[in-house]
Amino acid sequence: MSMIQPAELVGQTGTVVRSHVVKKILKNPLGLASVIVIVFMIALAVLANVLAPFDPNFANIGKTLAGGDTVNLLGTDSVGRDVWSRLVFGARTTLLSALLCAAVAIVIGLPSGLVAGYYAGKFDGVANWVVNVLMALPGIIVLLTVRAALGPSVWISMVAFGILMAPGYFRLTRTAVQSVRNELYVDAARVAGLGDTAIISRHIFSVVRAPIIIQTAVICGVAIAIQSGLEFLGLGDPSVATWGVMLNEGFKNIYLSPLLLLWPALAIGLTIGALVLLGNAIRDALEDAEKIKAPRRGSGTAQETLAATRHLPGRTSPAAVEAGTEHHLVKVSHLGVGYPQADGSIKKVVDDVSFHVDRGEVLGIVGESGSGKSQTAFSILGLLPDSARIVAGSIQFDGKFTVAPTDDRVSQARLGGYRGKRISYIPQEPMSNLDPAFTIGYQLVTPMVRVLKISKAEARKRALKLLDDVGIRFPEKTFNAYPHEVSGGMAQRVLIAGAISCEPDLIIADEPTTALDVTVQADVLDLIRDLQKRLGVGVILVTHNFGVVADLCDRVAVMQNGRLVEDGDVREILRNPKDPYTQKLLGSMLEDKEPMTMLVSGGMGAAQAAARDDDPDAKEMAL
């Protein structure tokens, strides 16, 4: 069984995974530095009594504004107090007050966020209103008012500030809970009969834990800044040594002894900086884990990796395409597409793929997820992600290279002249492929104005005609509608209208009916067939559905794990598949099978068949 996970990850328990995160933070240089700074500051705070030679308020009037010496390591302030001792005791007060603030904010924000997110309803409404009130309050002005009312205590102002910061935790928790509340695994737990408390503690709390830790690092930093700011204004308790009070003292003597400013400013900057960095490091460490957790379906995966070689041996650079192949509309020769990995290797997702499409012909590329079929189509369009590399082969369109044999990326300059004009694209998911902020009309008109250089009025006339052509009953109404105002089937018709608007020679359709209902799919297939016949365009149809292939295609190419396993005439491939993989795929079709019979396992038990089948199954985990 081929697991994509690195070996040491396999078989770890939840706790080990968590310590994995800690390890990752310590491996990150910035994370390590921030941990060291924070541990150092905590050590200062805890050991203040031992580290400080003087009481923070002991004033030696005879020795004011002195420089550092063996008695007063960092010198003395304007009333002769030892700067080092005050700095150390200041660390204690400052850190404790930051913790108090965060604790208050968590105690208020976390439970209320959990309840509001999980139960919604009235409590959610009220809580949100309170949050809006709190977030409309400028912090310092409230703290000034609180101080006026309740006295200049550090602790009281930090409790008040904690209340002001609670909305941060509330919103964080509420959003996280809302996103998880309707997850299927929570439904499964409900079906199993788990109580609300058990669901929250088992399934929901684990989701908010990490963001809460990150948020706490940030809030502690903000608390230190605000508290120092208040004390800098001279509004703190002057009898308690804190970094803010020291800043105030330093600012008063800025002309006489600028060093007095340096130490507290440094302590504040370092501590807050370390907290911010720690938050970032935790986020990075967790996101790393996330990346493995959420495989992107649809992108290809082939296990083979190649060394990163920009110039593969044998790749020459002919200026012109091979003689005798110019008449093909598109010709893909030995195409290889790969993604560079962190370790310098290249993961190939398309490997040695060759095929051609002629004018007026429909080629189907069939395969399961991870077969590289979409990646192949996007390399013809030149719309691969930035990180993708052409590692081998070439693509020619209408007798000219769009990817020459020596290119390692698709040349946008060369393709720019074709895309939209001669090669167009029908995407899979109709809704997400229209910009929600613009009307459908705008999105049809603009490409025509840009590509065909016609006037807006002319383009508008053509767009209305196109909408009529793709079977939309009220073109005018749809023209003025926003994407969210039309149905999925209608949006797909709009996208097809867009694809034919500039009279292309080649249409690349990436699973154009997969997101649609079966009855809508049949209508859209009819539409594509009619348009293809009428306009005589070449079509590359990427799909996983052999029924769709049978409906539209003249020829078929079957792909598996980045390789082309078989291609040929549609009847030939569907009726007499040669390759075992094609046979297996067609064997998995349910149409015309005797109901209630085993499809793959035959004589053996389904479980054994499933176990045996794990290998190709695992490859589905596209990364």
């Binding site: 695994y185 493995i292 799919q521 996983h544 079709m589 499809l599 499933a610 089948d613 199954d617």
Partner: protein
């Protein structure tokens, strides 16, 4: 109700009669959204009822109503002789033993931060089994769905979609339930994986005699796995009966459209089916025009 269907109420595992589901809409005095209207279905022990329909037809809502995840506005749901239309948390806990679920999306139906062993043990723990017994049962389950025993202490992310769906099936099987609601359990899977998972469903039914309420948008899948089929359209059941009848020679116009809309993997047969579909659509339009006076 036809005479052939009557086997006495005792033989029925699940009976849904006159079920309406409504969701209240936000806003003052707005009419609630009616998701299901007058649903009547029943499932016998060891039987599979396939529920087919397109998006928004209410098929998923019906499954969720049986599971207690959607509000029952009118009508009753009877499971093993007990009215569960408005079962509380305590009753649901007891029901969890006999009534289970497999969801569509194998990527979100397992908690990503829990190990497979913990996920499978969850329903066992709820029923108060001790850890040792639970561990033993988890191993049996993994074996039953064809996953290696060392899957116990791995995380869901280490498995492919098909493997995860098998974990979800194992979780549903944990307490040897009488009925499993399967909500589009194969529609997120690749073709060859779908075949493997369908085999597994059939095998489990043969071995354990469990009943399925099998929800899918794919008529082929439903035909393959079901004894009887119900077709849903706009929140209502428009046709139900034996699988072979409903999925091969349907009576309701919508089911007829649905059947002919699904393309077959052969160009010439598909061309024929396409023509049949066009003829059907034309005939239905004509009928509609003449049936409804202007």
């Amino acid at each position: 109700m036809t005479a052939t269907e009557v086997h006495g109420a005792g033989a029925r595992l699940l009976t849904v009669s006159g079920l309406d589901v409504e969701y209240p809409l936000k806003g003052f005095r707005r009419k609630p959204f009616r998701a299901l209207t007058d649903i009547n279905i029943s499932i016998k022990p060891g039987e599979t009822l396939g529920l087919v329909g397109e998006s928004g037809s209410g098929k998923t809502t019906l499954g969720r109503a049986v599971l207690g995840l959607a509000p029952v506005t009118r009508g009753t749901i009877t499971f093993a002789g007990q009215d569960i239309s408005h079962a509380g948390r305590q009753e649901r806990r007891k029901l969890g033993k006999d009534l289970q679920v497999v969801f569509q999306d194998p990527y979100t139906s397992l908690n990503p931060s829990l190990q497979i062993g913990d996920i499978l043990a969850e329903p066992l723990k709820v029923q108060g089994q001790d850890p040792a017994t639970a561990r033993k049962r988890v191993k049996e389950l993994l074996d039953q769905v064809g996953l290696p025993v060392d899957a116990v202490d791995r995380l869901p992310r280490e498995f492919s979609g098909g493997q995860r769906q098998r974990v979800a099936i194992a979780r549903a099987l944990a307490l040897s339930p009488k009925l499993i609601v399967c909500d589009e359990p194969v529609s997120a899977l690749d073709l060859s994986t779908q075949a493997v998972v369908l085999d597994l469903f059939l095998q489990i039914q043969r071995d354990t005699g469990v009943s399925y309420l099998f929800v899918s948008h794919d008529l082929d899948v439903v035909r393959h796995i079901s004894h009887r089929v119900a077709v849903m359209y706009h929140g209502e059941i428009v046709e139900q009966g034996p699988a072979s009848t409903v999925t091969r020679s349907p009576e309701h116009p919508y089911t007829q459209r649905l059947l002919l809309a699904s393309p077959v993997p052969d160009p010439d047969r598909q061309a024929k089916r396409r023509d049949e579909r066009h003829r059907l659509l034309a005939a239905q339009r004509l009928q509609e025009a003449s049936g409804i006076p202007a």
